[in-house]
Amino acid sequence: MTTTVTTPEGRADHDADGERLFDELIARDSRIEPRDWMPADYRRALTRQISQHAHSEIIGMQPEANWITRAPSLKRKAVLMAKVQDEAGHGLYLYSAAETLGTPRDRMTEDLIAGKARYSSIFNYPVLTWADIGAIGWLVDGAAICNQVPLCRASYGPYGRAMVRICKEESFHQRQGFEILLELANGTPEQRAMAQDAVNRWYAPSLMMFGPPDEESPNSQKSMEWKIKRFSNDELRSRFVGMVVEQIRVLGLELPDEDVRYDEETGHWEHGPLDWNEFKEVLAGRGPCNAQRLERRREAHEEGAWVREAAAAYAAKRALTTGEGGLR
C-alpha cells in the first residue's frame, strides 16, 4: 500500500479547520465521509464497532450453515442457504465500510482468527434443534434489526449506507424464522414443545445482544454524542421486548419471563433480570461454543487459501496472455 498525506490514516490528528467542520457536520446531523478529517477516537471507535459487526455476520454463518443439510424440506434448505449467503454479504459490506477508515481487510481477518477481535456473544450458543433456526431468525435477527435500523442514520456515511442494505435483507431473515416457529407451534405436540423450548433458550441471550445496561456501558455516551448510536442499549432492549410481546401471542407460545410488563409512567417495557455474568463469560471467550466457532473460522481461512491463490494465479496468467487484467 502506498501512503500519501491524504490517506485516512496519514492525516494529521490536529487540524483546527477539520475539527471545526467535523463538529459542525455532526451538529447539523450531516454525514462524515471517508476523506474528511475526523478525531482519532472517532475513527478508532468506528473501526472497532464496524469490524466487530462484520465478524459477527461471518461467524453467524456457522450455527445456521450447520443446519442446511438437516433442513426439513427442499424449500427450507434453499431459504436457509439464501440466508447464510446474505450473512456473508453483510460481512463483506461491513468490512468494506470499515476499510474506508484505513484498516486493511486482511488485518481485520487476522485479528478475528487470532482471537483478538470480538464478535456478538449470541453466536457462541449451540443450535440444538430445527426450531432453534426459527428462534434465531425471529429473536436474534429481530434484535439485530431493532439495533440496526437506527444505525442506518449513523454519522459515518459508509456505515449508514451498508446498514441500509443489510436492514432490507434482515427482514426476510426475521420473517422466515417467525414462519418456522409458527408452523411448529401449530404442528404436533412434540413440534410445539420444540418451538417453546427454542424460544425459552434464545429469549434471554437475544435481550443481551443489545449490550450491558446503560450505566455499565462506557462507550455508549461517546457514541451517542458522535451520533453513531441514536438510542441507548436499554431503550432499544425495551423497544424489542414490546415487539416480541405482541408477536409471541400470534405464535401462541409463551415468553420465558414472568416480569414482562409495560410501565405506563416511563413508557418503557420492563423485563425480568438477565444473567450478566453469563454475558461477560461468553464475551470473554468462555461461552459454550466460542472455541469451536473460532477454530472453524480459522480452518475455513486456512483451507480456503488455495482458492485465493488459484484466483490470483489465474488473474496473473490472464494478464500475461491478454496484456490486461480486465474484461475483453
Binding site: T3, T6, E33, G89, R165, A315, G325
Partner: protein, 115 residues
Amino acid sequence: MTGGSTTGDDGATAPSTGPQEARAAWPLWEVFVRSSRGLSHVHAGSLHAPDAEMAVRNARDLYTRRNEGVSLWVVPASSIITSDPDAKDAFFESPQGKDYRHATYYTKSEGVKHL
C-alpha cells in the same frame, strides 16, 4: 485535485497479483449498479478481487442478488480521481449568489400560461 477513491482507500495497486505474491491484498474495486434502463449507474459498494472479471462476477453475487440491476460497472478504486476535500469551499462555492441560474428566480412571469 488529489487522487483517491470515493471510499477513501487510495492504496489499491494496479490489478496485478502473481502466485508469488498471492498473500498480497487484492485490489479494491468500486461497484456501480444500473437499476434499470434509462437510469444512471449508482455506486453500490466495493469489493476486493484479483482482476476485473472476478470483480464483475463477485459484484453480481454480492450486490444484485435481488434484481437490483440490469448492468454493472466495476472500477479499480485506484483509478478514481476525486476533488480535494480540503478545497471544498474554493471548489464548489461558485454557484452561490447565482440564483438567476434557476427558473424559480424569475417571478414576474408567474401565472403566464405555458411558460
